[in-house]
Symmetry: C2
Subunit: 345 residues, 2 copies
């Protein structure tokens, strides 16, 4: 790259001080005479001056950069949030750098370190399991951050999320109202609070409706072996004939895997098995029985997250954390249509 033109070049070119140039280019009112200001602006344009934000950052201690950490940026749930965050950040002059932790503690730490070394002004984090210590370290360093989607019961922090318990409870109750009584759930094999809440909502909805939860109904799959483990777990429950009449998928990606399995086993939705999922996916519309799902407003999540982050940067004092609970909506479709024949139990 060729030598770039700096404020110094403009100053020399005009025979003035760099301070003057800096003032003009930063629109510090009143400090400079109109003619001089005009001359400086013109010279800057002629020389194609481009401010070096790195230098400014070193001086100001602010990089106007937000770090976004998610499990995997290629997961549509996160990439859609990333887009909202990008737009919202840009509106305030911020740029976003991102990192995927693959639900892995070490990767999470590495990304965090890299972002802190790069002096991001704040972090937006969908935290992985067991990363509480990393978040606590951030708090000790007074690094502003906002949790999105995930959270820990023992960490008080800015957070934007939904009421996972309620959303799951309502979804399962909807299944019950449509005539299902043996309701299975596919969840990640994790202790993460948002998943625990969803499981809690599921179980409580069963209990409150007089249905005895069977341990075998809760199928667990690990993030890194989701395909095999979802397949195995579901087969045990659904072959040779479905032992349950509904499946509740704890996330988008679990639903994608789960429905693939249902297709492979050739089970009819919704007659043999009703299906409900968290979050959206194009795929849900393409299935012969469009999937009923819980819609979170990614827009709200992204926007509130950036807002909280910018507020934390501005106050800089360790203010009391704010929690934003975003609304959800159950989008009811074919996959949970009422049973048309008598319940078989």
């Amino acid at each position: 790259m060729e030598r770039k033109v700096s404020i110094k070049d403009i100053a020399r070119h005009l025979g003035v001080s760099t301070a003057l140039v800096s003032y003009v280019l930063n629109n510090k009112a009143g400090r400079v005479s109109a003619e001089m200001a005009e001359k400086i602006r013109q010279a800057a344009a002629e020389l194609h001056y481009r401010p070096n934000l790195i230098a400014r950052s070193l001086q100001s201690g602010k990089t106007n950069t937000l770090g976004l950490i998610v499990a995997d940026i290629s997961n549509p749930f996160f990439s859609q949030i990333a887009r909202i965050i990008e737009d919202e950040a840009k509106r305030s002059g911020y740029t976003v750098i991102f990192g995927s932790n693959d639900e892995n503690v070490e990767k999470s730490q590495a990304i965090l370190d890299a972002m802190l070394n790069r002096q991001v002004d704040a972090l937006l984090i969908a935290p992985a399991e067991f990363t509480e210590p990393q978040l606590k370290a951030l708090q000790e360093k007074h690094v502003p951050f906002v949790l999105i989607d995930r959270y820990f019961s023992d960490i008080q922090a800015n957070c934007v999320r939904i009421d996972n318990y309620r959303a799951a409870y309502d979804a399962v109750e909807h299944l019950i109202k449509t005539g299902r009584s043996r309701i299975a759930m596919l969840a990640y094999d994790t202790g993460m609070q948002h998943i625990a809440d969803r499981i809690g909502g599921y179980k409580d909805a069963l209990r409150d409706n007089g249905i005895d939860f069977q341990a075998s109904w809760l199928v667990r799959a690990s993030y890194h072996h989701i395909e095999e483990e979802a397949a195995t777990g579901m087969q045990q429950l659904l072959l040779p004939a479905p032992a349950v009449d509904a499946f509740f998928f704890a996330t988008n990606s679990l639903a994608i895997q789960g429905i693939r399995q249902i297709m492979r086993m050739n089970i009819k939705v919704p007659d043999e098995l009703a299906v409900i999922s968290f979050d959206e996916a194009d795929a849900f519309d393409f299935f012969y029985a469009p999937i009923t799902y819980i819609r979170q407003s990614l827009d709200d999540i992204g926007r509130h997250a950036v807002r909280l982050a910018l507020e934390s940067i501005a106050t800089s004092q360790p203010a009391t954390p704010k929690e934003v609970i975003v609304d959800v909506r159950l989008i009811i479709r074919e996959s949970t249509k009422n049973k048309t024949y008598a319940t078989d139990q």
Copy 2:
């Protein structure tokens, strides 16, 4: 945020010069005595020293940052590439900042400016239409960049892409071999070369197989009104009865819209209409007749793109641009199954 500990703090703490600390922390061999090195390393650890990469960047002129510009990071095609790029960049110690231009010239320029001001070392760009001047400006400034997915015939630049003409040609020929003769195509209403190539491949495949291309077969939709325009265009061709027996979708997102329309019109795939698309989507597997598609290796694209970018940074001389053509594979499935009955024309 609390005051951060700098190299100076370590130096003072130990009563040595900052130069020494810098050398040790950067592993400049032989310059420092083993004991001193050890003492410095220990002090750095104790004080939780964290190098300020902004300061280093100002000094070195390198930020170890790559800028990724795509149409929309929430588009799975791009978010998947973003993930590959992230991993590949990290492997070499680079971070990625991203921006979505929404196929818009002004936004593209704004993102470019923001990234250049932030001193990215190189750019990875899936360029929008009419942004040739912006790319030429980059070349004049000797800013290293690599085009991905898209390209311009009048711009010589590093580029990673597929042979769009060939891929489209082969896809259409496959449709013909399975017995289709009236083949429509849905494409973006753009002059972008990759789309033009795909259209060219489509038309030539028809011609070479003795099929007269009908102008009405080529349906165009604009990026910003894809839903309405795809719907209108397809309806004209498919209602009251299909005037064509196959549809070739120029991209992933066009296919999603197009298939939605096919579902709404209740047209049977593949019997009434065969369907083929570019790129993958979960949704393609969930459709009752899984969609045949052209698979590009996003892995290859991402990896080569980063490699070329890093090479350009290293040589820094305006070397002759390199073009990498990535292989594609036609994944044949139900949506293009052979016609089982006699062709009706």
